[in-house]
């Protein structure tokens, strides 16, 4: 009996270690491929120039249009999405509402989360047709904001839910209203969790190709107007991988590497940011 229990323990333990290794292995393989093929193709021109004539045939130029485009798209969408997500998550967690209402809202958010991004793209596209808009940076921002919204709300709700009830009540007990408590206590206490939620959503948005395909389009120009099309890194990868030239395909990997580094950079910055606000948090 004793041996059987120990054996089970050992087996389960090994399985857990193996699954961890498998996941880490996958990550390393992806990163390895991107770096191995992308790094040699990456040069200063790629980061500082827009595509020149014949860029997609392997000639001069870079993907600055896509880098800036992606930053504008994801940045704009994130700002937009925060403006809606934060009030919604505070409302859902702190304001009294019937459990039925909350369940329905949560169900809707989960469905929204599960909708494939190409559907968001198609929705955005038909909306833009209806409004008479052309493919533009603004259109892309709106669709990406929609894409980010459910991810952000659920993440923020989780962060707010983690706050001890007693802490919130101690603010109420001082005669603070719900709004004052939300703004002065809840946001401060939940800050690291809120940052994580924002980051998760931004990461999803900056890497999404399907939703921006119809809505922001693609252009070799830098994004200088909200009403003009804007390029994006995922589409830059897609278009370059689609060419028959190995040199251009390598540039697609270089673009993927740039995208990965941007996401990593965002992650590091937000961690530093939340560490700065961390010292006052009550555990």
């Amino acid at each position: 009996m004793k041996i059987k229990r120990k054996l089970t323990e050992f087996l389960v333990n090994s399985l857990m270690v193996l699954s961890t290794l498998f996941v880490v292995g996958c990550l390393l393989l992806i990163l390895g491929t991107v770096i191995r093929r992308g790094l040699p193709a990456l040069d200063l021109a790629m980061l500082t120039q827009i595509p020149q004539g014949g860029y997609y045939l392997g000639k001069e130029g870079g993907i600055l249009n896509a880098i800036l485009g992606s930053l504008c798209l994801a940045g704009g969408a994130t700002v937009f999405s925060i403006l809606f997500s934060l009030p919604v998550s505070i409302y859902l967690q702190l304001y009294p509402s019937s459990p039925t209402t909350r369940n329905w809202i949560h169900l809707s958010l989960d469905v929204l989360w599960g909708i494939p991004s190409i559907v968001y793209g198609a929705f955005g596209f038909s909306l833009m047709l209806f409004l008479g808009m052309r493919a533009s940076l603004l259109g892309g921002i709106i669709v990406l904001a929609l894409l980010e919204f459910p991810i952000m709300v659920r993440g923020m709700e989780e962060a707010i839910h983690m706050i001890p009830v007693e802490l919130i009540e101690s603010s109420y007990a001082l005669g603070a209203t719900r709004l004052e408590t939300s703004l002065r206590v809840v946001i401060k206490q939940a800050f690291p969790g809120l940052v994580t939620a924002v980051l998760l959503a931004t990461g999803r948005a900056i890497g999404d190709a399907a939703s921006v395909l119809f809505t922001s389009g693609y252009t070799d120009q830098l994004p200088y107007s909200l009403l003009r099309p804007a390029a994006s890194l995922p589409l830059a990868i897609f278009f370059q991988l689609n060419t028959p030239f190995p040199a251009v395909q390598d540039r697609a990997y270089a673009a993927a590497l740039v995208l990965t580094v941007i996401v990593l950079g965002l992650s590091i910055i937000s961690r530093l940011l939340s560490a700065r606000f961390n010292k006052n948090i009550i555990r």
Partner: protein, 266 residues
């Protein structure tokens, strides 16, 4: 609805509880409680676990209704106003009737800001705006009142989370006093503390009771007998006996009180 002092109908009673019933979902936690809380001094609410002490205490500043599935029926008169009446500002009730929780939860900010928080919200120092030193003086005053000033005066801007539990509880006391409540509700304020810190809090309560009405929930009979001027004894959601502490401890009327004091039940 004006909660201010001059409306008080009965100057010897600060709070009057009238036929208060509370349900959690279908469970009735308080059954027809009627009791008076005298002006100033310490009124202790005692009784065994689950008898509704905390429920009663938290119904006195309407914090109870933050719980889900709660239903409250009855009246609590404060300065001649029923705090459960429509149109009463909940935030004002909670400002005038402060609460000290069992476990300290400092707000996620510095020691100074913890004490200043309530005053800022209520604009108590607004007359001297631009003159931050008035707020500084107040913060110092309330930290002194809570007996914490000497320990934190050199690190007011450090995080409140860095304090020890005993210090945190005194900070919470300072924070509660800083909005200048007329009544202080204390929910087992020493239960999370070591004996030395607990003694510190008790000493502050004794000093405070000269000018403040204090309602103290405690499951420690000895603490009640040390501190209380009046006692409310609850048993299974019902009020068994209430009155002056001396009479309660030396000459209890109800057999359940006698057995509880002798340690036979509860």
């Amino acid at each position: 609805m004006n909660l201010s002092y001059q409306h008080q109908t009965n100057p010897t009673h600060h709070l009057q509880i009238e036929d208060l019933n509370v349900w959690y979902e279908s469970h009735q936690a308080l059954r027809g409680i009627s009791a008076d809380i005298p002006l100033h001094g310490i009124t202790a609410i005692i009784g065994p676990s689950g008898c509704g002490k905390t429920t009663l205490l938290r119904s006195l500043n309407r914090l109870l209704e933050e719980n889900k599935g709660i239903q409250i029926q009855g009246k609590v008169w404060f300065n001649g106003v029923n705090i459960y009446e429509r149109g009463v500002d909940v935030a004002e009730v909670r400002t005038r009737i402060g609460l000290l929780a069992p476990k300290p939860y400092p707000l996620p900010m510095s020691i100074y800001e913890n004490v200043a928080y309530g005053r800022r919200i209520h604009g108590l120092d607004v007359l001297e705006k631009g003159n931050g030193r008035n707020l500084d003086r107040k913060v110092e005053y309330f930290l002194r009142t809570a007996g914490l000033w000497e320990e934190v005066k050199d690190r007011l801007w450090d995080s409140a989370a860095a304090l020890s539990t005993g210090q945190q509880q005194r900070l919470c006391l300072a924070r509660t006093l800083a909005v200048e409540p007329e009544i202080l509700l204390c929910d087992e304020p020493t239960s999370a503390l070591d004996p030395i810190s607990a003694q510190g809090i008790e000493e502050q309560l004794i000093l405070l009771k000269q000018h403040t009405t204090i309602v103290l929930v405690t499951h420690m009979l000895r603490q009640a007998s040390r501190l209380a001027d009046h006692v409310i004894f609850l048993w299974m959601g019902e009020l068994v006996e209430c009155g002056p502490a001396e009479k309660f401890f030396t000459n209890p009327q109800d057999p359940r009180t006698q057995e509880y004091i002798q340690g036979k039940i509860g």
